[in-house]
Symmetry: C2
Subunit: 306 residues, 2 copies
């Protein structure tokens, strides 16, 4: 039986972990804040598209060091924020044959993991999903759910294909893609404008932002495309138009950064904007709009801490 | 006796109006929100640098149409915000020999007044002052106070020199300058970064902004210099360095836009940023940082209205 350890069992981790259980894997979780509730009662997953189910993990742990057995896959599903050491978080549970999968936002977040675990397979994952933790152990899945997985620096290994297959068996759309790094930049095209603009506007949903400042949104998107191309990951020519059209068609949507902001949680400013900006500086790409938005987010964060 | 009508007798209007009374002019005021208080008790001006005095205007009016007599000068001291029709506000009191003086923030705010009153002298004024209305009829002058006055499109008329002289007699530093439009761009160099950044950061004082995001501040300042130069008003080469040094030396300071924001008052986004941006577009100057900050202010305002 395939053994999976989910580390960071918030909304994303619990949702995808529960799907792997459905597909027959043995899934354990490390979850710190909701430990007591989950240990006693497991998770309730309330998926508007798929239905409602109970998820009872094989082991519920406070720390990865407490994990008994060898994980075929570690699924790292925390946010990527300064102060949270992703390597230290998973290290105690990484065995020789463990594939390290991270389902996380941001660009250029891979190297750290590859450097820390040079002898393990690293699988980079992207989730296109809207789901929230509404109370301890209770996850609501509102919409979407698609996953993309791929190896680093590129390619699709046997274990990546196997994991994909498990997800697909569970009823979610999962694609193994040859160039997951390009996929990260592609996702960043949407995240880089809408996440910070929703926060800096003081809480506007995506549709209001787009309807009144489409040109700023497009300028930021173009800058992300420029960085991606300079780093060897040219994005499709029509990607901006597609993102714009798609966002007009979405119901008004609160971004993940806005939700974090409203709940006084750390935001993924560095993973999404800071890393993109540092790549631009390294590659000599001019990104004045992105630069301004990043600087303003840093000011906003400074004020929040103050 | 020189007759002056101050229109928009908030902090700035009451302060400068009271100084002209000290210098021997007959000063009346149009003040709407604090009318009852001012009609009965006049103003109390509490100036930390100069002292405390009472200012009892010759006429206290609700509307310019109620003014009896002919004003040698109309001093327009309102904010420049959409929805406030500056021309309509003063028109009923403009006589043949009235010089129209506006002591207001922003760039490219002159043409509207020149077009509306082609046969009157128009004097453009800039105040470098920190003063606030703390309660109805009570003005606190905290620091600075310098005035610059000049004619449009440039030059110094007899009446401008006379008004300057009056202000100087009253104990405030007032300079008549040959090119007041350049002076406006020069003031915008400071206003364009610090005003919106203080609001978009959620309320940081100038020093925090400068200490953490000096490069964004400099980029916006440079763009203002570029627009000014393209519009024929080249600013001194060292103006950015001087502004940066000066701001480091200032005590932590809340900008006027931040005060408006905190008091839920309309902000001078259009007068300061919108007009600068429209000038850039007209003149073909690239100003991506300014553009981003302006767009974010518009989103912030949209959220505030919503």
């Amino acid at each position: 039986m395939i053994k999976v350890l989910v580390i960071g069992a918030g909304a994303i981790g619990a949702f995808y972990g529960s799907l792997l259980t459905k597909a027959g894997a043995e899934v354990s979780v490390v979850c710190r804040s909701d430990y007591d509730q989950v240990k006693q009662h497991g998770f309730i997953i309330d998926s508007h598209p798929i239905g409602r189910w109970h998820f009872s993990p094989a082991q519920v742990l406070k720390n990865a060091a407490d994990f008994r057995g060898e994980a075929d896959y570690i699924l790292l599903c925390t946010k990527v924020v300064p102060g949270l050491d992703r390597v230290a978080l998973i290290r105690p549970a990484v065995a020789d044959n463990t594939s390290i999968v991270f389902i996380q936002n941001g660009v250029e977040i891979e190297q750290e993991m590859q450097d820390a675990f040079p002898n393990n397979e690293v699988i980079s994952g992207l989730a296109f999903i809207c789901c929230n933790r509404v109370s301890p152990g209770e996850i609501v899945h509102l919409a979407y759910g698609r996953l993309a997985l791929g190896n680093l620096p590129n390619g699709i290994s046997h274990k990546t294909a196997q994991l994909c297959e498990l997800f697909n068996q569970s009823g979610i759309d999962c694609k193994a893609i040859e160039d997951i790094v390009t996929g990260r930049w592609q996702k960043c095209v949407w995240n880089a404008p809408f996440n910070p603009l929703s926060v800096l506007s003081g809480g506007l949903p995506t549709l209001d932002i787009l309807q009144t400042q489409e040109s700023l949104v497009r300028n930021i998107m173009q800058e992300v495309c420029d960085i991606a191309a300079a780093s060897g990951h040219r994005l499709p020519d029509n990607i901006i138009d597609i993102n714009i059209e798609h966002t007009y068609a979405m119901p008004p949507y609160k971004t993940s950064m806005l939700l974090d902001y409203e709940h006084n949680q750390p935001m993924e400013t560095e993973a999404i904007l800071g890393n993109a900006l540092r790549a631009a500086q390294r590659l000599g790409v001019a990104v004045p709009h992105l630069e301004t938005v990043y600087a303003l987010m840093k000011l906003r964060e400074l004020k929040l801490r103050g």
